[in-house]
């Protein structure tokens, strides 16, 4: 094991010798893959900042927040990129995040005025299924139909939590009733998005909880138009992905520059076809071809961070109660 520690030491030394300051960005796993937005954004920002951007992938959004909380003020991260609206409340409570001081003209369906978190992309949750079928157009119709669905567990995944909030914000006190009616449609509940989407592609269920933008991936990257997202009359719950600067960062100015770059046209243009989400600020070239085929929900649903925090535990109990029958 010794040589591992030596190797780690050498790496640290080589970083210390380098002249450029290092900006450490914690993000979720899929962000910094060959197909993710990470490489392009890193390259783009490094071209002008005179710095070295280092992405550190740390699980999904929830795991990201846990990691930051574990490290506390000793964290090496300057920027945390990839929390979402369900986690903002808990993230703000930690007191680890600083005001970002960045402003932009957001193209979000909702107003945004959070001083600590900058939205960089967003999407609508939706059920995705095969094109050509006669699909239900509401939770109630879905519950009455014989369509099988695979969803994610709200206790271990952010889309699972999003679905919980979706039903809650659309139906309020009737949420428990809706879940009871949906129970016989649920084939299974997976720990995360990857497993659920995998099961759907294997044909284990008719529908999977994903995003309205998922069909764009199949259409643009695979030239496959067989997947569609189902428009629901109740409206669609949003997931807004945010980034924040840590109070403990010793590169705050650089971190601000990075967030400004992230909201600029270059970075925003990368997101739709790498992260498969909508850009938070519409880039100059607009959305890529193919995005115009996606459904456009008329009623965006989103709870504030406080509402979501307050509603979560009761909603989780309803969900568990209804699906445990």
């Amino acid at each position: 094991m010794k040589h591992l520690i030596c190797a780690a030491g050498c790496l640290a030394a080589s970083q210390a010798l380098a002249a450029d300051p290092v900006l450490t960005v914690y993000t979720y796993d899929s962000f910094n893959t060959e197909w993710g937005p990470g490489p392009a954004i890193e390259q783009g920002f490094e071209a002008s900042c005179g710095c070295d951007v280092e992405f550190v992938a740390a699980g999904d959004g929830a795991a990201l927040l846990s990691r930051v909380r574990l490290e506390g003020p000793r964290s090496e991260a300057d920027v945390v990129l990839g929390l979402d609206t369900a986690l903002i409340g808990a993230a703000a409570e930690t007191g680890l995040f600083a005001d970002h001081g960045v402003s932009a003209e957001y193209d979000l369906p909702i107003a945004w005025d959070d001083s600590r978190f900058v939205p960089f992309d967003w999407g609508y949750f939706a059920f995705v299924g095969q094109a050509g079928a006669d699909h239900p157009t509401s939770f109630e119709a879905l519950a009455e139909s014989d369509r099988s669905i695979v969803i994610q567990d709200p206790r271990s995944s952010t889309p699972g939590l999003g679905l919980l909030m979706w039903v809650k914000s659309a139906y309020g006190d009737r949420a428990g009733e809706i879940w009871e009616a949906l129970a016989d449609n649920v084939v299974t509940v997976t720990p995360g998005w990857s497993e659920a989407y995998g099961l759907f592609l294997e044909g284990e269920a008719d529908l999977v909880l994903s995003y309205t933008t998922s069909p764009a991936y199949h259409l643009i990257a695979e030239e496959d138009d067989s997947k569609v997202a189902l428009p629901f009359d109740e409206g669609h719950y949003m997931q807004v992905e945010v980034a924040g600067i840590l109070e403990s960062s010793d590169q705050k100015t650089l971190a601000q520059d990075f967030l400004t770059y992230l909201l600029g046209s270059d970075a925003q243009a990368v997101l739709p076809t790498t992260n498969w989400m909508y850009p938070a600020v519409l880039p100059e070239g607009g959305l890529p071809a193919g995005f115009e085929t996606l459904i456009q929900p008329e009623t965006p649903l989103l709870m504030s961070a406080e509402e979501a925090q307050a509603a979560r535990d009761a909603a989780l109990d309803e969900w568990r109660g209804a699906l445990s029958q």
Partner: protein, 511 residues
């Protein structure tokens, strides 16, 4: 067991046991300390505990009951490919969960082979989701492990006894009663307890195939406490609950395990000329065929699917594969060495301690180490070292269950002679233990290496770009919609895990 003067490593073994205990308790203490104390379990936690116990008990029972005929057939038949078949029994256990589940779905899923066949026969499709799905997957993972444990038991019955039974022309039922039943009495409780304990920690399988919140396990509750609630007190409490159940299971297993009373043989290869022929031979062939289909079907499915993704292998793959290999080989060697050291102490409590890592989830260990390391050094610098440490601990119980009985047998059968010859210390290791324990050591190291290869737990807590492992790499691909590439990585992972396992296992020699 009368305690004789311990010839090698008594003190060393005790020291190692105390180190293991420290490695287990320190992270729990760190979490409790950071949390400022534990909290009482709620109603949902108790429900999770009940489900966890139920599915673990069922999985252990079914796995062992099905393993008995398979191990028996393997023990008394000699045929071409037998050795390969025994190595194959190591494969499912070491598969990363997400790879294995894909394989199982190809066979048992809605569009799977089984439902196709049922459809052809005009029968309704079966659903793999629910308690039976969880048990099915756990049996797929653990039945082969039970086969190996039982097979070692069968091999340990001296050949002379079977020859005597054959000379006396004893009917199979008498052979079973006189020779095989006492062995089963000795080996089965340990196998049951080991598989029970393994299934207690099940998380992804129970969730994916469980069908919903009914299938909540304690491990999921721990996961939630860490990831979403960041409730360290609750996580530590749940970890203690899990620790208590597994400790109880391990103690019960050791208590009901009777000393193997077969006595000394002449250490020759077992030749089973006594094995009954005719219908019995056909029955054994049928049992083995079913086992081969059950075990290899999902594996072939993974291979078939993965081949399509092989031409899409992304950058960084070989680095991740290299990281995984380094961690796996280190884990294999360290875990086998540690298990040998613990076994050499030949004390019950040392062995019980060695089984305890099974009781702590990797997430608990990792988080604890993170908290301990954080004030001293950036934890990401220790990513691979931490992953190796946790993997060694996680594999230790399996190694120990394989290595300790083998060492016991060698000491009982040949120890007195070695004592008379004054073989002590390294000489005893070199001349007495290693030659006779090679199969057990090889199998133990193989298990440890392969388990570590497929592990996706701790690394997510510590990982940074240079230190991804293959399973993590695969998850990242799935998250980026690269399902085919992920399947290709899954195949590579399967090949590396299984290759490493086979290398150690075959290197160990006959079993």
């Amino acid at each position: 067991m009368a305690r004789r003067p311990v010839a090698i490593g008594g003190r060393l073994g005790v020291g190692a046991a105390l180190t293991v205990a420290l490695c287990l308790l320190a992270p729990l203490a760190a979490i409790l300390w950071r949390a400022g104390g534990g909290v009482a379990p709620g109603a949902a936690d108790w429900a999770a505990l009940r489900f966890t116990l139920l599915q673990s008990a069922l999985s252990a029972l079914v796995s062992v009951v099905l393993a008995v005929p398979v191990a028996r057939a393997l023990a008394r038949r000699r045929f071409a490919g037998r050795r390969a078949l025994i190595v194959l029994t190591g494969a499912p256990f070491i598969l990363p969960v997400v790879v294995a589940v894909t394989g199982l779905l190809t066979v048992f899923g809605r569009q799977g082979v089984v439902n196709d066949l049922l459809g052809l026969a005009g029968l309704d499709p079966v659903r793999i989701y629910g308690l039976h799905g969880v048990v099915l997957a756990h049996v797929f993972f653990n039945m082969p492990l039970a086969v190996r444990m039982l097979l070692q038991g069968w091999q340990a019955i001296p050949a002379e006894r079977f020859r005597l039974a054959a000379q006396l022309d004893l009917p199979p039922c008498q052979v079973f009663r006189l020779l095989e039943w006492p062995m089963l009495r000795a080996v089965v409780p340990g196998a049951l307890a080991a598989i029970f304990a393994i299934c207690l920690g099940s998380f992804a399988v129970a969730l994916i195939l469980g069908g919903g919140p009914r299938a909540t396990t304690v491990e999921l509750a721990i996961y939630q406490a860490f990831r979403f609630d960041f409730d360290l007190g609750r996580a530590a409490m749940l970890a203690l609950v899990q620790f208590a159940i597994v400790a109880t299971a391990a103690l019960v297993a050791l208590r009901v395990t009777v000393a193997d009373g077969s006595g000394t043989g002449l250490d020759r290869a077992v030749m089973r000329r006594d094995a009954p022929g005719g219908a019995w031979r056909l029955l054994d062939a049928a049992v083995l065929s079913v086992a081969v289909v059950f075990l290899s079907g999902p594996l072939l499915a993974v291979g078939w699917r993965g081949v399509g993704g092989l031409d899409r292998m992304p950058d960084g793959l070989w680095q991740a594969a290299g990281n995984s290999l380094v961690v796996a080989v280190l884990s294999a060697l360290l875990a086998a060495g540690l298990a040998l050291t613990l076994a050499a102490a030949r004390r019950r409590w040392v062995e019980v301690l060695g089984l305890m890592p099974l009781a702590l989830s990797a997430l608990v260990l990792g988080t604890g180490y993170f908290l301990i390391a954080n004030p001293l050094i950036a934890p990401s610098r220790l990513a691979l070292a931490m992953t190796t440490l946790v993997n060694v601990l996680m594999a230790l119980p399996f190694c120990l269950r394989v290595i300790a009985p083998a060492l016991d047998r060698v000491e009982r059968d040949h120890g007195p002679l070695a004592d008379q010859l004054g073989l002590r210390g390294l000489a005893r290791l070199r001349w007495l233990l290693l030659p006779r324990m090679r199969p057990a050591l090889g199998y133990g190291a193989g298990l440890a290496g392969a388990l570590s290869m497929g592990d996706l737990g701790v690394i997510t807590l510590f990982a940074d770009p240079e230190r991804a492992t293959l399973p993590l790499f695969m998850y990242r691909l799935m998250g980026a919609y690269q399902m085919e590439a992920a399947a290709g990585v899954g195949l590579l992972l399967l090949c590396l895990s299984f290759g490493l396992f086979a290398l150690f296992d075959l290197g160990g020699g006959r079993a």
